[in-house]
């Protein structure tokens, strides 16, 4: 099922979202200095319905990984709430979370540092199960079947991470998330460190698991193409704020925010003629340089780079509003398709 478009739109009355993030704010550091600088995540809200995959897209500094950390409890939020199946887990410690809501797990980006090199694969997979009170023998059995479900032989439990390639390690990391039978998995750039052929293998595996198990995925990535492949809905972030959100195809094909357009236009496609046309269109649109001056405290953060910006953009932060299927935070959203 697909949740209604729009990040702030109320979720369906019929079912509680698997993951619900409301007005999340994260500031790094403390004291006066931190309060005067813009927060890493600024009033971000979204829902993920059961069985749904939401892509969180943005470039470095967009706050996407910080949101992932805040959802997981690795970074305490400054404001806002995080709910899993309606249960507020914002203030819970990590131990409390794992005891009371054991269905939130994670797969990280770097397959090399996400597995402890001193522990066997079995020890790594059994660890969360033992904490959940699963008996030793049963936990090993679950670990084996977890490995098999990601396409690895069960006897890999006795081996160490160094004996596996990058793609295999990422499968193991996925198995570690799966053994606890979670309902929600946060995927933080799970394929960006992998080569193209391995990336396709892992993406296909994730798609299979999503379909077979009805998992809800929060898929964090910098690559819109990858996000579009796996997600039903996409949220585009820039400098900690939501620029646009909506169905993945709509956001990818008919952007309603100039920043989304800048992102899609900049991603090169491997077809020279098409890429030449895209490039010309992008250069004609007249985006400002990415290293342009920082935006002011009020208004839209994309102003210094935006070809559409006017005085109102500098003065007022645009609210999210629904246009077609997407909601967008742009005063001039109607003019974006003409760019």
């Amino acid at each position: 099922m697909t949740a209604p478009a729009g990040a702030t739109a109320a979720s369906s009355v019929l079912s509680t979202p698997a993951l619900e993030v409301r007005d999340l704010v994260v500031r790094y550091g403390r004291g006066r200095k931190a309060r005067s600088s813009p927060p890493a995540v600024d009033r971000v809200s979204f829902d993920i319905a059961p069985g749904e995959t939401l892509g969180l897209v943005g470039e470095s500094g967009s706050g996407k990984s910080t949101i992932g950390k805040a959802v997981l409890g690795l970074q305490p939020p400054s404001a806002g709430t995080v709910r899993v199946h309606g249960q507020d887990i914002t203030g819970m410690s990590l131990r409390e979370r794992s005891r009371r809501v054991a269905d939130l797990r994670v797969v990280f980006q770097d397959p090399y540092s996400s597995l402890n090199p001193t522990r066997t694969i079995g020890q790594t997979l059994v660890e969360p199960l033992r904490l959940m009170g699963v008996s030793g023998a049963e936990a090993v059995q679950k670990a084996r079947s977890g490995l098999e479900s990601v396409g690895l032989p069960g006897d890999a439990v006795d081996r160490y991470p160094t004996q596996f390639s990058g793609g295999q390690r990422q499968r193991i990391a996925i198995a570690r998330a799966l053994v606890c039978d979670p309902k929600v998995i946060v995927l933080d750039e799970p394929v960006s460190a992998l080569d193209l052929s391995t990336q396709a293998q892992v993406l296909n595996l994730l798609a299979d698991l999503r379909d077979q198990r009805g998992l809800s995925l929060l898929f964090i990535a910098h690559d819109l193409g990858v996000v579009r492949f796996l997600s039903q809905r996409t949220v585009v972030l820039y400098r900690g704020q939501v620029m646009e959100s909506g169905p993945a195809d709509a956001v990818g094909l008919t952007p309603r925010h100039p920043y989304t357009l800048a992102l899609t236009a900049a991603a090169p496609v491997p077809r020279p003629a098409e890429q030449a046309a895209r490039r010309n269109a992008r250069e004609a649109a007249g985006f400002g340089m990415a290293s342009a001056a920082s935006p002011g405290a009020t208004g839209c953060p994309f102003v210094p780079r935006c070809p559409l910006s006017t005085d109102v953009c500098v003065e007022q932060r645009p609210p999210l509003r629904l246009i077609d299927q997407s909601s967008t935070a742009c005063h001039h959203a109607e003019r974006v398709p003409a760019l």
Partner: protein, 675 residues
Amino acid sequence: MSALPLDAAANTDLDAGRPSRPGRRLPYFLRRPGGLFGAVWLAFVVLASLTAPWWIPYGVAEQDLSNRLALPSADHWLGTDPLGRDLLSRIFSAGAEPLLGAGITVLVAFGIGLTMALIAAERGPRVERVSSRLAEVLLALPSTILLLAVIGAIGVRIFIVMAVLGVMISAAVYRVMLGVAKSVRQRLYVDAARVNGLSSLRVNLVHVLPSMGTVVAVQAAQLYGISLLIVAGLAFLGFGPAEPQPSWGFMIQDASSYVFSNPWLLVPTGVVLALTVVAANELADAIASRGSVARTTVRRRRPPARVGATATAGARPADPGAVLDVRDLHISVDDGPALVTGVSFALQPGRVLGLVGESGCGKTMTARSLMGLLPDGVSVSGGSIRWQGRELVGLSQEDLSAVRGREIAMISQEPMVALDPMFSVVYQLTQPIRRFRGVGRREARQIAAQLLRQVGIVDGERVLKSYPHQLSGGMAQRVCIALALTGEPRLLIADEPTTALDVTVQAEILSLLRALVRDTGLSVVIVSHDLGVVADICDDVAVMYAGTVVEDGTAAAVLDEPAHPYTQALLAANPHVADGEPVPTRLASIDGTVPPPGEWPTGCRFASRCLFAQEQCTQPFPSVPAHGSGSVLCTRVEELSRADVTWTSAPTTGPAGHETAPAATQPAPTVGVSR
């Protein structure tokens, strides 16, 4: 990312806790002579000292006044002291106290220092700031003099004094361990364990500490040596066991009075003490050597072989119009496997050539060989690189450095570390400008400002005054390009120039490179794993797989009508669909991974992963012409193109995940049938 085995060795310190291989071999640090000596000597001294009361030939106070200050003899193996007491007996009776005392210091120092470091690393900046300030104060206190104050106050209670020393040294331990603990805590498996709900104690014990094991062992061994010297020093000053009880320090103090007449007296005690400290330090060095075994010494660059003329029959003929003509290039690890074999390509002036493939395919090595900048221990082992008609293979480093910067320049993958952090941008730009163009300081600065404008930097004056850490990634890459332009080169080698950058910045940098080619007639070799980047900027492309070129030709021909199954597979695995096309529910993928150097099969190296592989693919075969001036290395290429097949594959679940590739001789599916 290169998959070179050598590069793994660069990463010394932390990948410590890696389990040793099965089998009953000695631990790695005992396989080095220093480590073996250290461990054996320490074990001997400790054992001999602790058991001294049961084996020493004479009592420590037993005087033989007729035999004073004797040299070694059958009765007294190490001689006697001024009172005729046996040195051997005294030395080993004296050993227990310093050996235990130093142990106490190490235990206390680590008990406090390591614990504090783990806490500070876990609790974050606020706790860390406080504990680090405290450590800094403790470190700045003159510890030996403070120890005198302790002795003055409580007397010579050596174990308490050594414990106090441990408290003071704990600051140094804290400082080293904090850095290590913080870097271990940044590893994602720590976060994964926390998300799993492990208690903080278990996270530290199971996931953080084991990875610090090597550093802890090294530091502890060094600290033990230092502590031994301090106990002995205190005893030398008279703050040791009272006569007639022996102590190493006081025995040396005693010997110093007889240095004019009986210098031998200095030798036995001094040597035992020094050897024990040397042993601790050698053991530390041996433990620290993990990971750097492959390069205990900096390897001298071996003079490159003159191999220019050895182009084999398979290589294509020279290309007269090309500025750069690479033929049958072989690169290998010295005394090791080949990394690149038989690579040939030619570059016309003003064109952009892309070397594309997955990591471990040899594209970066190929690019670096063009400037003679291969890593230590890797060299060109055959073939030819002709630059404007001149052979570069076999040139000395001096001759090559005349070419570098002036004729061929390079930009690298990580702009943030490619600039020297210690020097301002203006220095780093004007320095080569003055060298290349023979101009003065003032004029060089003007040229630098102009170059920055040329690479699209608007506020050049501010950037000139900056240091690299003050620049963003995109800005740093622009400065790197400006730097590469200082010598007005004719060829630019760009190794993954945009991989570390955001996609919008990547587009800007690619536009900049394209403008430079258009405006200056520069030729470019660009290394990339991203076929989109290749489509954007390259005129020609060479697709590399496992150290060889499998397909080359114009970018349009190769990308729009790929002939080699590997090229087809790479394109099919790309999740970026064309506008207007639906997103596939599953991506085509390639089973397995690129085989590492040294494990390449004969015949087609891609055969084991190829959907279309057959018996004939396991035999060697030559490349065939394709795409006009290009070529393709596939023995079935004609057959495949007649049958009009494309690379599609079933989703990879189940056995597909076994990345250990099946043997190439396996019966392959027939053409057109997708698995």
